[in-house]
Symmetry: C2
Subunit: 249 residues, 2 copies
Amino acid sequence: MTQARVITPLFEDLAKVEHHHQLACQSCALYRLCLPLGLHRDDLTKLDQIIKRSAGYKRHQILFEPSSTFKTIFVVRSGSFKTTISATDGREQVTNFYFPGEFIGMDAIYQQRYLSTARALEASSVCELPYERLQEFSATIPELQNQLMTRLSKELSSDKNLLLSLGKKTAQEKLISFLLSLSQRFSERGYSSMSFQLTMSRGDIANHLGLAIETVSRLFTQLQDQQLLSIQGKEVTILDLPALKQRCG
Amino acid sequence: MTQARVITPLFEDLAKVEHHHQLACQSCALYRLCLPLGLHRDDLTKLDQIIKRSAGYKRHQILFEPSSTFKTIFVVRSGSFKTTISATDGREQVTNFYFPGEFIGMDAIYQQRYLSTARALEASSVCELPYERLQEFSATIPELQNQLMTRLSKELSSDKNLLLSLGKKTAQEKLISFLLSLSQRFSERGYSSMSFQLTMSRGDIANHLGLAIETVSRLFTQLQDQQLLSIQGKEVTILDLPALKQRCG
DNA sequence: GATCAACATTGATCCAGGTCAATAAAGTGT
DNA sequence: ACACTTTATTGACCTGGATCAATGTTGATC
């Protein structure tokens, strides 16, 4: 099952990141996906000094939860995370998954308290952006402020698209939309858009899409039978992208 | 059916707003709910000059849609709006409702293009905040930047709570959560939290909550039979708040 | 205040996807 | 390699809420 994964230049760089925790933004492989994009060299140097590069998180380890005090926004450096929001009785909804270069915890700015719980899906690491310092810096670096607003707005867009999925799409459309969104994000990160590893369990996917695990499992089988994709454990290979796009609603 | 509505001081002020389109932020009844909160007097004067107070919108009139060019963020001055996002085949999801002091169109910052369509639910008016000018101003007014981020984050929080509703709650829990959220927002605006008018149709509510109109209708009847609330057309009166809170999930 | 259209309610029936149950793989630690 | 736990698949059956259908109500327009 050790199928060859498409190795791109960026993927090799990402691998390096894991071994250089204090790597400066300037030479970070994620540069073009991350906050510093568009910042001047000396602004970047300043920003670099307030960013804390954390030690790694293990699979299932909690990054933050509603009881944590809100101090920082996190950027995924390597690996992946999920966030969940809980009803009073403990029912949980997986609100999003996060990959390298993506921001976690922005919903905490309002109320100064994390709304959700963030957990690592695999061995992962993050950069910590102290929110107060970020605010101070934004006052003198307009491009930084712009970047932050854009990130918040991007997360809004993604949530609203998920609302459409949850509210109006069939089970099959939900799963296809989800896979295409993953494909898109992997592609942006220099991974293959046609073949990738799911880092989350069937349970996480089902929960995220408002479905039962069994439904997700059956849909995978069904899409495979229809020759639209192939799935072997966590490895997804898209076989007929146009057909999938046409069926995602 | 002209039942007496609870008139609070703020409500009277809100009524005035409708007749003074060019009312300055300083004397606007929405001041404490709106963007200018916490701004210094002279900053406010500057902000005041870039804000355009639009003419009114009629019921069902479109404020913006994905084909409109993104230039401004809107703040509801009076009335109410809904936003919808569309699937490729025309299916629509009502993503949110907006009341005085709330911001519409923030999901357009990323991509510089409105993601959704905004429509007036009744005769309404807005203030227009030109986004580029707002960005310039934020550079010199840290509190303004803070306000904008907080607003974006608040909308994120509200979307994530809706995700929980759509993904994990029963039809009854969805409707109760929705009504309690409305109650809360009316209360913040100086209206009664126990008795209020729904400005949206049953169809809008059903769509927003991922339900059929018939289900919403039956739930209203059912909640009324259980003495938890009373509903007469668009007038909702909450009869047993603790019981509702306990049933919202 | 009559006409028509839009909106809302209620009942009867149906089905997409959930739940329950059994089995099979895949990981994990020793 | 083995035991054990977690995760995934598949089948049989069930149900919450959708859909269909008929009727009632409200509200806009002239």
